[in-house]
């Protein structure tokens, strides 16, 4: 198990290194420069600025300096946001993004499991059809459309929650729903399919033959077995939540990383782009490892073959 984990961590680091390298060079290919008012600057001013930010050095040297800094946890200084260190920028904004992401994930997955299970237990009834229709709608409506609809009807018309901005919990409700509905629909669909299969299996028949009640069977036997395929979705969800949050954070004016990321791309703020990309990648790689660990917890067959590795 230890050896297995060490191997996994090594591959994680390798992945991050590759991501850093590719992003660095791709970013340099982006058109434009970091200076928003370049037309008004003299050649000399640009020269001085370039020197100050190390942009006049050869590309490979910039790359090495960047990598070296990253090894020390130094992600450089933002060009855009009043010259703050990127690590500080990220730290000050990660809270909002993380809270939103986690809330959306819990909201989506938990409700998705409940709805999917109800649909499976009531297979081929109107309840099942209703759940299916809802999950198709949830999956096909883009989250930014939903966000705007929620803002208009729930916030503006009904006034139940604030339209935008970031304050207490009530500010998080609408963006959480907007962000979570995608995963919710997907989870519901997945659990429904999985559980219909599971409910047809022999061990469910045996559970019935033991005299267990319908809900006892779902709770003790069907749910855990239906969750196994869901674990594979955690990775894609995380990506969806990260990218989704960029738009949603913008719409709801939430001071999160996504919002900052969009701005940094528009302004060629190289260090911030790199920093956020690295953060997202690290998050994703960690989620993949986490997925495998969760797999092992839910499915004993995998747990044991993993430890034999």
């Amino acid at each position: 198990m230890r050896k297995y984990l060490l191997k996994r961590v090594f591959y994680m680091i390798l992945t991050l290194f590759l991501v850093a390298t590719i992003t660095f060079f791709l970013m340099k290919l982006m058109p434009g420069t970091p200076y928003s008012n370049q037309q008004k600057m003299t050649a000399q001013q640009i020269q001085i600025m370039n020197e100050q930010y190390g942009l006049n050095k050869p590309m490979w040297m910039q790359y090495l300096i960047y990598l070296g800094g990253m090894l020390h946890g130094d992600l450089g200084v933002s060009f855009q946001f009043s010259n703050q260190p990127v690590s500080y920028l990220i730290a000050s904004r990660i809270g909002a993004s993380a809270q939103l992401g986690i809330q959306a994930m819990i909201f989506g997955v938990v409700l998705g499991i409940v709805i999917g299970s109800i649909a499976a237990v009531n297979k081929n009834t109107w309840i099942d059809t209703l759940c299916t229709i809802l999950s198709i709608i949830g999956k096909s409506v883009p989250n930014f459309v939903l966000a705007v609809l929620l803002q208009f009807y729930i916030a503006l018309k009904l006034g139940w929650f604030p339209i935008a901005d970031w304050g207490g919990f009530s500010y998080t409700v609408l963006p959480t729903i907007a962000l979570g509905v995608g995963p919710l629909a997907e989870t519901a669909r997945f659990i429904r399919t999985g559980m219909v299969d599971v409910l047809n299996s022999d061990y469910i028949e045996l559970a019935k033959a033991k005299g267990m009640s319908r809900y006892g069977i779902v709770w003790h036997h069907a749910l855990r077995n239906s969750l196994i395929p869901l674990v594979t979705l955690i990775g894609p969800y995380t990506v969806a939540l990260m990218t989704g949050s960029m738009v949603i954070e913008n719409i709801f004016s939430i001071p999160g990383i996504g919002e900052q990321f969009v701005k940094s791309i528009l302004t060629n703020d190289y260090p911030t782009i790199m920093g956020v990309t690295m953060l997202f990648s690290a998050g994703l790689v960690a989620v993949i490892l986490l997925t495998d660990i969760i797999y092992g917890i839910i499915d004993p067959r995998i747990r044991l073959s993993g430890s034999g590795d």
Partner: protein, 347 residues
Amino acid sequence: MAERILDVKNLKIDFHTYAGDVKAIRDVSFHLDKGETLAIVGESGSGKSVTTKSLMGLLANNAEVTGGSIMFHDQDILKKSEKEMQNIRGKDIAMIFQDPMTSLDPTMRIGQQIAEPLIKHKHVDKKKAWSQALDLLKLVGITDAEERIKNYPHQFSGGQRQRIVIAIALVCYPEILIADEPTTALDVTIQAQILELMKELQEKIETSIIFITHDLGVVAGMADRVAVMYAGQIVEYGTVDEIFFNPQHPYTWGLLNSMPTLSSTKLEAIPGTPPDLLDPPKGDPFVARNPYAMKIDAEQRPPFFKVSETHYAATWLLHPNAPKVTPPDEIIRRRQTFKDIMAHKAI
């Protein structure tokens, strides 16, 4: 006389399908006495599983019981609500399924799977249930049970898993154990061990067994009585000796003829296929495959003719006016043995 614990009378079950109503069980009656083993044999699709599922109240959603009664002691199982059935299943009537590889929940420790019926029916706490589960696990012959009780199903072989399934079925000491082809999925040596175990436990736990199989070979050593099923009906029933050595129905002849024995030179499968139960024949359902069929077989369903106090067969060949026919050689040989057995018993 032995205590009668189960009495099935004129049971009729239809399945509603898009193609029409499948008349899967067509007037089936049988009984089960305390402590005995009844084998139900018959080809695939003859209705064995449907019959046993109706005893458990576990019929598919599209099934409809259109007639009959299933008396368990003095209560009709067919009149019970789902809630009431949940209190009978696993406690009074338990079941073992065919495939041990898929009968156990892959994500639950086997200790918990054995303990579950106890927690549900006997309302014992988890600790006590696990300690009883451990006793059962030892009883069904799992070595190193203290350790193995914490394992998951995939850590056991097929034979061991079937032992665990048996432990689950017996943990509440049920009055009736239904075993639906419990050894079909296992290889021959393991089969014998499992059958041996079932007989041994039947003595200890004093349960009655309904043993379903399409393999007459395993019936001889297991059962006290045999019911032969064909196309949703029972066509012959009697004691093991009567069915094996003095069979009367041509379908039973066919089954015995297609069974390998020491003396048989060649195996003869019954030609043809069972009738379509969407539109069953109105006479003897075996008529199309019966080399001894008479005109009346196609027109009228034969009643049960009494052969002995315990032996009945539904074939027109037993009618006093029917012509005498010569059964296959194998059957004649068997009847000779039967005479010896009877003579032996008479002494």
